[in-house]
């Protein structure tokens, strides 16, 4: 235990005094997580199937406005806001918020819109009845007042969103107008019926839209920027320990300390375990720091914070498995590489390749289908999938076990290859 503690302390001191190593292990990932989450927030939001915030002003609580609002809400595509910061919206404030880019779209229903529509509907019916001679008197000329609904768009809004809003308003306006005209016909025709009898027109459903998936629906849960970037760059940082870990192993080999360690009694394995434990703890610290940042700091930038799910036990297992794989990968690289330069260049390239195959740079659903087939071969993807399952699906231990097992196998394989290669070299 004394030997293990001594090598643990030695390794901690070496790491703390390696400023470049500390920057690459802690400062760089903090910057990466923050910058990438902020940068990708709008891009990932655009592709994510989430509700769009829409400003809505209906100052007179007009029934046309209420009908349009209900119709828009039924699409489940919009979150409708009728006030901002506790203040009700009028036409000017609504236009201001949209032009400032704070909201993508705003709708203003003018005062008296329903009365105008109702008046127009009455005129349409009276004109028709007069033309066919059902009403007495000579045919009059009717003036129709147009109801103007204002829709304000942020110039950056996509055409698909515009089409969705225009279509929804057009559809609900047409429904209301149709209903008003029908009601007006019923009301006026009732005057011609004997006694107190009233005409009541019922509208049967004339068109039924049958929506169905032509094939199995894609159940991919799309992460937001935080849910993707925080675990992705945390994993990237964890695997980045390959550089300080491998170079620490190489420096011992090059500097002669390896010779001293090997010639000490029952020492080398203990010192090596001490080294691995330190880097394992580094991985855990990275997770604690970066996930805390996702939970507490990212929301300060106006971006949704990281939700860690409710299965803390599963999260711990996922983190431990990822750290084990990362440390084992570093040990293997340290065994194969013969110089710091080699470890730094080959290590970084390998991490970048594994990260890109693993869907760390770009979420899986944005990758071409043929590239997605490669994901199954990257340990970083196994680890990232675990975090997706935990954060997006609130998965438990049972759900993440297959990928935990893969990470464990990968780590064990790296250790066997690394130590085997070292032993082989020593024998030869």
């Amino acid at each position: 235990m004394n030997k293990f503690f001594a090598s643990f302390v030695k390794e901690v001191l070496l790491l703390i005094r390696d400023r470049a190593g500390m920057i690459s292990l802690f400062i760089m990932p903090i910057i990466l997580v923050f910058v990438m989450t902020v940068i990708e927030d709008s891009a990932l939001n655009a592709t994510a199937d989430k509700q769009i915030s829409m400003l809505f002003s209906n100052p007179q609580n007009d029934s046309l406005g209420i009908a349009i609002k209900n119709g828009l809400e039924d699409t489940k595509a919009f979150t409708i806001l009728e006030s901002v910061d506790g203040k009700a919206l009028d036409k000017q404030s609504l236009e201001h918020y949209v032009s400032a880019g704070k909201y993508p779209v705003g709708i203003y229903i003018p005062e008296g819109a329903t009365d105008t529509l109702r008046s127009n509907a009455r005129k349409v019916v009276m004109k028709t009845f007069a033309e066919i001679g059902l009403t007495s008197g000579e045919t009059k000329t009717y003036d129709f007042d147009s109801v103007v609904i204002n829709i304000f768009y942020d110039p950056a809004v996509r055409n698909s969103l515009k089409a969705l809003v225009d279509g929804a308003i057009g559809q609900h306006s047409a429904n209301i107008v149709g209903k008003m005209i029908s009601e007006m016909y019923s009301e006026i025709l009732s005057d011609f019926l004997p006694g107190e009898k009233k005409l009541n027109v019922n509208y049967p459903t004339m068109i039924t839209v049958n929506k169905q998936y032509a094939s199995e629906p894609d159940n991919t849960i799309i992460p937001n920027s935080t849910q993707h970037n925080v675990p992705s760059w945390t994993l990237f940082a964890m695997f980045f320990i390959v550089i300080p870990l491998a170079s620490s192993i190489i420096q011992e080999k090059d500097g002669g300390t390896y010779m001293r360690l090997v010639t000490m009694p029952k020492t080398y394995v203990t010192t090596f375990i001490g080294k691995m434990v330190v880097y394992f703890i580094v991985c855990l610290l990275q997770v604690i720091i970066l996930f805390s940042m996702g939970v507490y700091l990212i929301p300060l930038a106006g971006i949704p914070g990281l939700q860690l799910g409710t299965h803390f036990d599963a999260l711990v297992i996922a983190v431990l498995a990822s750290a084990f794989a990362a440390v084992a990968f570093g040990v293997m690289m340290g065994s194969f590489c013969t110089s710091y330069q080699q470890a730094a260049s080959v290590g970084v390239i390998l991490i970048i390749i594994l990260a890109s195959f693993g869907g760390l740079w770009m979420p899986v659903y944005l990758m071409p289908k043929n590239m997605q087939g490669l994901l199954g071969y990257s340990p970083m993807n196994w680890a990232l999938t675990n975090f997706y399952d935990l954060f997006l699906r609130n998965a438990g231990i049972k759900d993440i076990l297959p990928n935990v097992f893969k990470l464990f196998l990968f780590g064990t394989g790296c250790f066997i290859v690394g130590f085997g290669y070292k032993a082989l070299k020593k024998v030869k």
């Binding site: 004394n2 030997k3 503690f5 001594a6 090598s7 302390v9 030695k10 001191l13 070496l14 005094r17 390696d18 500097g255 002669g256 300390t257 010779m259 001293r260 360690l261 090997v262 010639t263 000490m264 009694p265 029952k266 020492t267 010192t271 020593k426 024998v427 030869k428």
Partner: protein, 250 residues
Amino acid sequence: MSENAIIEIVNLSKTYRGSDRPAVDHVSLTIRQNEIFGLLGPNGAGKTTTISILCGLFAPSAGEVYIDGLSVKSDKEKIKNIIGIVPQDIALYPSLTAYENLRFIGRMYGLKGAVLKQRIGMYVELLGLQDSLRKKINTFSGGMKRRINLVAGLLHNPRIVILDEPTVGVDVQSRNLMVQYLGELNKTGTTIIYTSHYLQEAECLCSRVAFMDNGKIIIKGSPKELISQTPGCQTLEEVFLKLTGIDLRD
């Protein structure tokens, strides 16, 4: 093992993978208890390989090595406790202080607490490093690094100390102090095996020397014997040049 021998090398050979000639070629040698034995030779002679096999760093391709009656093949761990190594490279962590390095190495040899502190204090004082104990190794001069490297090999009071060119690149004062100290250490009963390119130093320090060239022992004996046996030579360096030639070695 021969009587009074502490190290017995029997027909030792080592050929590295990919090499067509052995680095050590059928070497047999006996080193007696409490002697300072010099293993001398030009670059590539096989000195470091022989020392590495003694330390258990490499397995021999053929032959046997016994240290205090223990085989380097089967009793490696026991042997590690009785030998101290002072490698050719500065085998210390540059970003740690001298004290942190020595504390780590001492603990690796099972020393702790007051004993470890006392040993560190004693050796750094003997080698004139007490004022630099809390300084990082990367701030040390070449001579100071060599002296701390020596202390690191002595902390556990080994019975045999193996030094691979311990004074290379060291100023005259540091070299003088180190050589003087090795003589003192030998007087306490420690056997010293020593390689060096400084033949004058070996001539003064060693009770016996062996010249190695091309992996073989070409001659062995006390410096005086070797000088007297080689006609026309007044110093060990002249004997060396006569036996190994003046051609440059890589």
